[in-house]
Symmetry: C2
Subunit: 338 residues, 2 copies
DNA sequence: TTGAAAGCGTTACCAC
DNA sequence: GTGGTAACGCTTTCAA
């Protein structure tokens, strides 16, 4: 790993006995050189092992060809699948993606925003985290397009790519009801969570009420989050109070899988004794035993879609619109039709 | 999203009626200005909403404060957990990370390497993909440090952060044997895979042989990869030939979970009828039913470790050494002690 | 304590 | 077709 000075365009020019301008033209496939010099220059570029410096390039044409993506947490399947789609779309557009892990409390978010600003990213994708007015204002000043995925903004006029959580939750519970369940509980995240908490509970409630089932607040149990670990405690609360439940709507795949896990501990069979429907439909859903029936969001394609909308915005210089993603229910084997 | 021209250091200088140099000094906390001017400049910076341009900065001090990370596939838990660690360590060092999804066939790898070279990244992390001589040679020319994680290089002298796969596999099978299993099968990925295929099979074989159990090649089944989907077919092959197996060593968590899934289909109870030990110990292991006993690699901390070693190399300008990670077996409930 | 100016590696305009 | 050169936004030496 020697650290020679890398050859610059100047070195190439000198070596090939042409001007810098000519080399630059050849590098950029513009016009203004003979085929002969082109070959000659290309050959010396090759011989010298020259590689253009994107930083210098970026300085002059004010382009970084880079976007920033913010995740509260990058270690789960949701982020992974989103990122997969985002990276895919970005690469085909010639953009690089910088990932930022903001931690869910959002303390680091502003720092990352500042960083991305300094690095001159041309756009920002905000995932799974509420975009507060403060953040929105900052990004507004950055004067680059933003888009939220699986999230939305306190500020309106910020485009978002997401499903309608209330409607999706409604449909999930409706599905349970259509399977003739009436004793339906819910495993939720914090009801105060504006993204995945409140709206999904609202959907649950609406479906229940509409089916003339009395709404019982104690049938929605929750802990601090949407992860497997959070499901354990929530399930126990729920089961202690309502051992007679025949179905559970879980607000995430991990909560659903956690419920499966806990149910087995109590000797419950799934779906015979207890039906469970999940939410997200990450890879985890198919890997569960039994395979999980779940509301599908399609994170990978949501990631791609968000990136594409962002690039459109970058090109046109306008913020553009978001897109409402259609959810659907993927039927597997965790729900019993009564 | 208006596109005003962002203020530059020049604007700040003019507005504050000082020289560019002074502003620069203040920005960089170097010496050579009075407290009064500092306050004044800081105030105008604030008023103008000035933000330094890292690209221009990078051009002059030849630093991008960025590293590149290559993943064959970014959508799984392994990448997610590695990335979590890498991002964490990078952020505390003031570095950004660009993620590259190379696709497992490695076709895009060289393209990404070129891209990273142009973007002047200061180091590269190569994950879960064999670093061929060709790639190594390219990186050598880039003159930046590399490190492989969960992988190694055809070229020696490239540091790597990984467990000893042969030894880990050996221990896993040894664990099964210590639980008094003798009819032990293996669910593998392709035996030709130099990373996670061959070495783990070798470990399995060594443990079997050493316990004086005859080695039967047909007891190691595999399909094209290490994912859940690949496990289905492999398990069926295995079970068709050897319904008498009492334990299975799976070369990944997903293969193990796939085995659990398939086993249930055949009416097998786990671990009563069939014991299964996994490999990786991603989040998936704890979410399985029953929770999976598995060889733990600790991807998040491997990611951190790799990043830290890389930064050391960047600082010292030398390639440095890798680190052998200690594996351990996390006991959960998928293995029965006979 | 401060400012002028060179230079980082490019691109793009203007001349020839 | 080709070359000279200003400019991108910044850091850093050198002088004052």
């Amino acid at each position: 790993m020697m650290r020679l000075n890398k050859p610059t365009i100047k070195d190439v020019a000198k070596e090939a006995k042409v001007s810098i301008a000519t080399v630059s033209r050849i590098l950029n496939n513009s016009t203004g050189y003979s085929e002969t010099t082109k070959q000659h220059v290309l050959e010396t570029i090759d011989r010298l092992g020259y590689s253009p410096n994107a930083i210098a390039r970026g300085l002059i044409n004010k382009q970084s060809n880079t976007i920033g993506v913010l995740f509260p947490d990058v270690s789960g399947l949701i982020s992974a699948e989103l990122l997969q789609g985002i990276e895919e779309a970005s690469h085909t557009r010639g953009f690089s993606v910088i990932v930022c892990k903001t931690d869910s409390d959002g303390k680091k978010t502003l720092d990352f925003l500042r960083l991305l600003q300094e690095k001159q990213v041309e756009g920002i994708i905000f995932t799974s985290q509420f975009l507060t007015k403060e953040f929105a204002a900052f990004i507004e000043k950055m004067a680059v397009p933003v888009i939220t995925v699986s999230s939305y903004s306190e500020q309106d006029n910020i485009p978002s790519v997401k499903v309608d959580d209330e409607a999706a939750a409604y449909d999930a519970v409706r599905y349970l009801i259509d399977c003739n369940h009436t004793e339906i509980g819910m495993l939720s995240g914090p009801p105060t969570d504006p993204l995945a908490g409140a709206p999904r509970i609202a959907g649950y409630k609406r479906a229940i009420l509409q089916a003339n089932i009395p709404y019982d607040e104690t049938k929605v149990a929750w802990d601090k989050g949407f992860y497997f670990e959070h499901g354990q405690l929530a399930f126990e609360k729920l089961y202690a109070l309502h051992p007679d439940l025949t179905a559970i709507f879980a607000a995430s795949d991990e909560l659903a899988v956690s419920a499966i896990s806990s149910a087995y501990k109590y000797g419950l069979r799934i779906p015979e004794d207890l039906s469970i429907i999940g939410y997200d439909d990450t890879r985890l859903a198919k890997m569960a035993s039994p395979p999980l029936t779940a509301v599908s969001q399609g994170f990978e394609s949501m990631g791609m879609k968000a990136a594409e909308l962002l690039f459109q915005a970058i090109e046109t210089g306008t913020q553009g619109n978001g897109e409402k993603i259609k959810h659907r229910i993927i039927e597997r084997n965790s729900v019993k039709k009564h």
